[in-house]
Symmetry: C2
DNA sequence: TTATAATGTCAACACTGTTTACAAAAAAAT
DNA sequence: ATTTTTTTGTAAACAGTGTTGACATTATAA
């Protein structure tokens, strides 16, 4: 939207965010310096402080953008899905695609979320989660779940979130899986959907459900 | 073990690690400064460099200790378990307990693992994962799994790892769950074990398995 | 045109990680 | 026991950082 491309620099705030994201993805969070950002943009060290109260504020803004993009990626991925299960599967793959494409940003989002208050950060984070709950509510409406949407949501989010971290941290090599979002997402979805136990078990009692007891 | 309590300071290396962990847990990774550590221990800024090549090296050592403790916590938690399923459940709860008790250290462990090479870091990390695989192999031997140990391991680790992050980042409030390791672990285990789909589905084909099709 | 607010410069402060040359103490070698 | 060597810590310095305050400049509004 960028309603102001005037003033001294033109649009420093956005330029800072853009450069910051680039620097973050190229050199990690340690190599992200406000002074360096200013230098690259041809501006003095004090200038960024007219747009961000703090270095943390800059990072919080970056994380906020990240959450919005995460949500957008999930939405785009599930654009043509109809079934709740399809949406869940595709949404998860979108989640993994985002983490795989922006690993440092992803880590920033979940490593700083609690530190800074930053209301807009929490809003965008909650919005991303609301999308997941939506997907599961649809599954619930379609009678696909054997538990509540929130119960299933806990496992679904945990699984996809954990898989994302394992992917970007290289932990998947230990599982004998290619770190490809489509492949991992598909595998996680299938296991998640059907459970890992050979004989289905009642969620409430923990006992085998009689319907599928072996011969 | 601490075979050397002599020299100038006594045992600076261990003292540094101890103080670093305290500082990390109290003020987060941003407030962790080598100079401040030295100051607190009554030692000059250059001293730590006799024990750690780098600040990153100090952090890597810290993370290594973290992995060893993580493994120990899981082992302790499943000490009296016999069934593979019980071990899996308790191991997961141990994982969550560790993350809940040392959130900053936990984040450090999985936010720096890939950055620094640090062979000992990878060793300790792999050792922790090997424990999980062990648990699933036992499940496999007992005929409890409907898929390979590695397949199940991917989901199991993802789920517990993700749940840990959600706990320490406050994401669980959105799931309507208390952030208690035992409760979360139990819920995740049950969903994980039995799947979230109402009608069990073949892992290979994705079609409903005939054994439990509804009337 | 003038007043005002927004934006950027400049110079400084306190702090950090890190290196270098040096001193002291402990361990090893004689 | 004395000398040599290695380990450990000190001292002083360098470059770089986040951050602040007083000032200049420019765009916006009156």
């Amino acid at each position: 939207m960028s309603t102001r491309k005037d003033y001294h620099h033109g649009d420093l705030r956005d330029a800072l965010l853009l450069a910051a994201e680039k620097q973050l993805s190229e050199e990690g969070p340690a190599g992200l310096s406000l002074r360096k950002l200013g230098r690259d943009l041809g501006v003095t060290p004090g200038a960024p402080y007219r747009h961000f109260e703090d270095k943390d504020a800059l990072l919080a803004a970056l994380a906020t953008i990240g959450f919005q993009r995460l949500r957008a990626t999930m939405l785009k991925e599930q654009k043509e899905c109809v079934t709740g299960e399809e949406r869940l599967r595709s949404g998860g793959i979108g989640y993994l695609k985002f983490a795989w494409k922006h690993p440092e940003l992803f880590r920033l989002m979940f490593g700083w979320m609690p530190a800074r208050e930053a209301p807009e950060l929490h809003e965008s984070g909650d919005a991303a989660f609301a999308l997941l709950v939506d997907m599961l509510r649809q599954c619930e409406r379609e009678g696909l779940l054997r538990q509540t949407a929130l119960d299933a949501g806990l496992l679904a989010w945990s699984a996809v979130h954990g898989a994302a971290f394992l992917m970007i941290d290289g932990g998947l090599k230990l599982c004998g899986t290619e770190p490809d979002p489509e492949i991992v997402g598909d595998r996680v979805h299938r296991s998640l959907w059907s459970g890992i136990a050979r004989h289905p078990v009642s969620v409430e009692t923990g006992k085998e459900s009689p319907a599928s007891a072996p011969a």
